[in-house]
């Protein structure tokens, strides 16, 4: 068991003439959401976000047509199987109606477990990021009310508060929490703390260990003649050589003259931003064919794997969850993000600092229309304007978008968690003062 956040991506191809029908269905469900938000959040207990959209056909490398598709992308907490069951049981009829439009959907009627199997079979891997790691849907509301109740209690401490030591203030707060039956849960340790970390970090640890073992073996080979050492010793140099070789090939590919994306019409931009009117969190889906050349597909695939390895340490400001993945044999890049405020503001986060622009280039420079780079991360001319144009040119309308909650920003969620973590934790006075600021 864990409270790690994960992403599920299910996709099937769709005949182009069915796109508008499916869009109509999804838009209808979107309307239902307004009325049944509460029913959704009580029935989809482990689901934070759901993006469901159709993707029109796109052209790869100026000649190859990539098929139209239906994409269902969710961000959830807990195990994949219970998430699939949750989807199939609550959204069964809608899932069947929409996916039923695809030739990939089975002829025969599916029962709930058949639908689960179908969703599983059509799901593809993604590199996933969460900005509020390990917080479950249940925690979201509980931690919010915990903080509100303690803040209210804190108002009573205010008068004499300036003279009361941080330690005493903390004790008073802890006693208050312990004495409230409805807050009993907060006095306990946060579950799965260690196992969450281990589960997220073991692939990275394994990778690091193999590389380290290889390096050590390389040295030991000078002194010992063991077959196992010789095999191990190869791994690190081969990894470096392959990466170096791929880099060289990429550099050659970067010399292909840059073709900018055609700018999206004002009308189309208006259509997209008209859906971005949620008060706190909004969603953005960007799907672009890759730049031509097989090296782009390979390079991006390796990059996404490596990014996945370090996801625990990644930080993208204002983003609740995000994912990157490749589709159609690596020829399409999909990026979705659920973020605070509007895409006009959010897209700036990518290019407004040098470091961020470099990080983004690692993935987006492979997509068609995005800025040309040198050695993957170095900017070429008009980096920022091409980047912004690229994002808009490939942004898709997400016909159906569900969010578990519409009220708390990612910073709010993190602060609420920090406050809870601080309860019953030993701290010195300076740390307590800092902790109190999260209230």
């Amino acid at each position: 068991m864990s409270t790690i956040h994960k992403g599920l991506t299910v996709t099937v191809t769709l005949d182009e003439e069915k796109i508008s029908y499916v869009n109509g269905l999804l838009m209808e469900y979107r309307k239902d959401l307004k009325i049944y938000q509460e029913k959704f959040s009580t029935s989809l207990r482990g689901t934070f976000f759901l993006s469901w959209l159709t993707l029109p056909a796109q052209v790869y490398a100026e000649k190859e047509k990539l098929p139209a598709r239906i994409l269902l992308m969710s961000s959830y907490v807990g195990s994949q199987s219970s998430h699939l069951r949750e989807l199939a049981s609550f959204l069964g009829p809608q899932l069947k109606q929409v996916f039923g439009q695809s030739r990939e959907y089975p002829e025969k009627e599916l029962d709930e477990s058949g639908l689960v199997d179908f969703l599983k079979a059509k799901s593809i891997p993604n590199t996933f990021y969460s900005g509020f790691k390990f917080i479950s849907t249940e925690d979201v509301n509980r931690e919010k009310s915990l903080k509100a109740e303690v803040w209210q209690y804190g108002q009573g401490l205010d008068g004499a508060g300036k003279r009361t030591s941080p330690r005493e203030i903390k004790e008073k707060i802890e006693t208050f929490v312990r004495n409230q039956p409805q807050l009993a849960w907060a006095a306990k340790k946060i579950p799965y703390g260690l196992s969450n970390k281990i589960q997220m970090l073991w692939p990275l640890a394994l990778f690091g260990l193999i590389m380290l073992a290889s390096l050590i073996s390389l040295i030991l080979c000078l002194f010992l003649d063991l077959l196992i050492l010789k095999i191990l010793a190869f791994i690190f140099p081969i990894f470096i050589l392959v990466m170096g070789f791929l880099f060289l090939l990429l550099r050659l590919n970067e010399n292909i003259p840059h073709s900018p994306s055609p700018e999206l019409s004002d009308e189309k931009v208006r259509e997209i931003v008209a859906l971005e009117t949620n008060p706190v969190i909004n969603e953005m889906t960007v799907i672009a064919p890759l730049k031509k050349g097989w090296i782009r597909r390979i390079f991006l695939a390796i990059t996404l794997k490596l990014v996945g390895l370090v996801a625990y340490f990644a930080y993208i400001p204002t983003v609740h969850t995000a994912r990157w993945l490749q589709m159609d044999r690596g020829k399409r890049l999909v990026f979705i993000a659920n973020f605070d405020n509007l895409s006009e503001a959010y897209a700036h986060d990518f290019v407004d600092s040098e470091r961020r622009a470099m990080n983004m280039a690692v993935i987006f420079s492979h997509a068609f229309g995005f800025p040309a780079t040198r050695w993957l991360i170095h900017k070429q001319y008009n980096h920022r304007s091409n980047y912004m144009k690229g994002v808009r040119a490939h942004q898709k309308v997400t016909q159906f978008w569900y969010a578990f909650q519409h009220e708390l920003s990612v910073e709010n969620l993190k602060r609420n968690r920090t406050f809870r973590e601080g309860l019953n934790k030993k701290m010195n006075d300076a740390e307590i003062r800092e902790w109190l600021l999260t209230l």
């Binding site: 941080p166 009117t277 204002t318 008009n382 920003s409 003062r433």
Partner: protein, 477 residues
């Protein structure tokens, strides 16, 4: 050492309208006049007559000055060719009152354009007339009047302005202290004490912070028959209509001065704490001294201080609250969502603006002393700020600040707070924006149910062209 090419760029001051580089501070009287054309040919003739009268940045006017800015509708009325009109940025084309722009700017409820005095229907252009005295201004206005009426131009609104005591705004706070410095205007930019900005952030036709030419309106080369315009720096098929011009954002903001001080008084035990609370909302004391440098009391010697940051000295906002007006409109070196001072500084720099606003209406008390304002009765006079800012990218600079920093109630990890001074404060089923949160020990203080201390009364996006661009508009047929 090879000099940085940006630093070597020389600004074409004789093609730049004066207000972009100067505040015309010595011309203390000014009026902003909003007009509609009634005949395209007469309108073009009007521009031909006006062009030589427009004050450029090469002059230092001692008596009067005149500037012109046009809206999208105004330029469309001049029948500028379609490719030219299309080349303006989307937000300018849509205008400040388009439904989505209202949403972005937070112009809803009390602040919705339907409640404005002007701007719901866009004017065509604005003349900004300055005089060293009320008399000089009157003379200049008479000349302008004669010129406009002889060209069948309808005067829509006259917006008088009046400088206040000690360069204060109506709530009684010293204004116009923090201004971005344009690098190309300095003799030795490398010795600059303050952070400097490339001209392209505020003037089109020069490179901006991304080392790109700011996006600008263009004219297909073949359509510039008289060769009025310079070539476009990135595309030889185009002429640069934007060069030496910029976008001008105008918002008429009424200030509820009596309500402002009454609110402070109601939340405080005495006048001094009421003033301290208002200062927490602004981020500076009434005399201008920044809370970050002198949190306990105003320090007159720091009243123009602008060399400070928040990262080192006040990350948590215990001195200057994170939600205060100056910290929202320019977070300087500390964005709560960033993990380093360097990133914060780089990000915040991308959203600066040159402010040129002037107050209007009579002061609540002549010397704008807050203590007197707290005790004075409501006089029901309208007063406020004609907020003006100049930017080359409306969306990245003005709208970003207004939307993401001023009105977004989650700014900096806050929960229900819009800018206390200029935010739109309300509470409905989807949003609550009327709190102000003051970090303090042991538990933060939250003020609730802030009324709107400012109200939008009018506004529009204008293009503030260079002289050659103006000439092109006058000449084209």
């Amino acid at each position: 050492m090879v000099a940085n090419p940006i630093d070597m760029t020389v600004l074409e001051k004789d093609d730049i309208q004066g207000l972009l580089l100067r505040g015309h501070g010595q011309l203390s009287s000014a009026s902003y006049l909003l007009y509609a054309f009634t005949n395209p040919a007469k309108a073009r003739h009007f521009l031909q007559v006006l062009v030589p009268k427009v004050t450029t940045a090469a002059e230092k006017p001692e008596d009067t000055a005149i500037q012109i800015a046009l809206t999208y509708d105004g330029m469309a009325y001049l029948n500028l060719p379609d490719p030219v009109m299309q080349s303006f940025c989307r937000e300018f084309k849509e205008g400040m009152t388009a439904a989505h722009r209202q949403f972005i700017l937070g112009d809803t409820g009390e602040n919705a354009p339907k409640n404005w005095n002007w701007g719901e229907k866009s004017p065509h252009f604005m003349l900004m007339v300055f005089g060293k005295s009320p008399e000089a201004l009157q003379l200049a206005l008479a000349e302008v009047n004669a010129l406009t009426s002889s060209h069948g131009i309808t005067a829509l609104h006259v917006l008088p302005t009046g400088m206040l005591h000690n360069r204060k705004e109506h709530f009684g706070f010293r204004d116009d202290i923090s201004r971005p410095v344009i690098r190309e205007l300095l003799k030795n930019p490398e010795n600059a004490q303050e952070e400097t900005f490339p001209a392209g952030e505020f003037i089109m036709g020069y490179k901006n912070l991304y080392e790109e030419y700011a996006s600008c309106p263009t004219v297909p080369a073949a359509m510039d028959k008289k060769g009025d315009l310079p070539p476009h720096p990135d595309d030889s098929n185009l002429k640069d209509l934007g060069k030496n011009g910029t976008y001008l954002v105008f918002r008429q903001m009424e200030q509820k001065v009596h309500a402002f001080w009454q609110y402070m008084k109601a939340q405080s035990k005495d006048n001094q704490s009421a003033i301290a609370l208002a200062s927490k909302m602004v981020g500076r004391w009434p005399d201008g001294s920044p809370l970050t440098l002198c949190p306990a009391r105003p320090t007159p010697s720091l009243s123009e201080a602008n060399d400070f940051g928040f990262w080192q000295d006040d990350k948590a906002g215990l001195k200057c609250p994170i939600g205060s007006h100056i910290r929202r409109t320019n977070p300087r070196d500390h964005l709560v969502t960033e993990t380093s001072q360097k990133d914060s500084t780089e990000m915040a720099a991308k959203h600066r603006m040159i402010r040129k606003g002037r107050p209007y209406g009579p002061p609540f008390v002549p010397d704008l002393n807050p203590e007197k304002m707290i005790t004075r009765k409501e006089d029901n006079q309208e007063r406020g700020l004609h907020f003006i800012c100049m930017v080359t990218d409306i969306r990245r600079q003005f709208e970003f600040v207004q939307n993401n920093w001023v009105n977004f109630h989650k700014f900096g990890g806050l929960e229900h707070d819009a800018d206390p001074i200029i935010g739109n404060h309300y509470h409905n089923e989807s949003r609550k924006t009327d709190e102000f949160s003051l970090p303090q020990y042991p538990v933060r203080r939250k003020l609730d149910q802030l009324p709107n201390f400012t109200l939008i009364k009018g506004g529009a996006y204008f293009f503030f062209p260079g002289i050659k661009a103006l000439q092109y508009m006058a000449d084209h047929d």
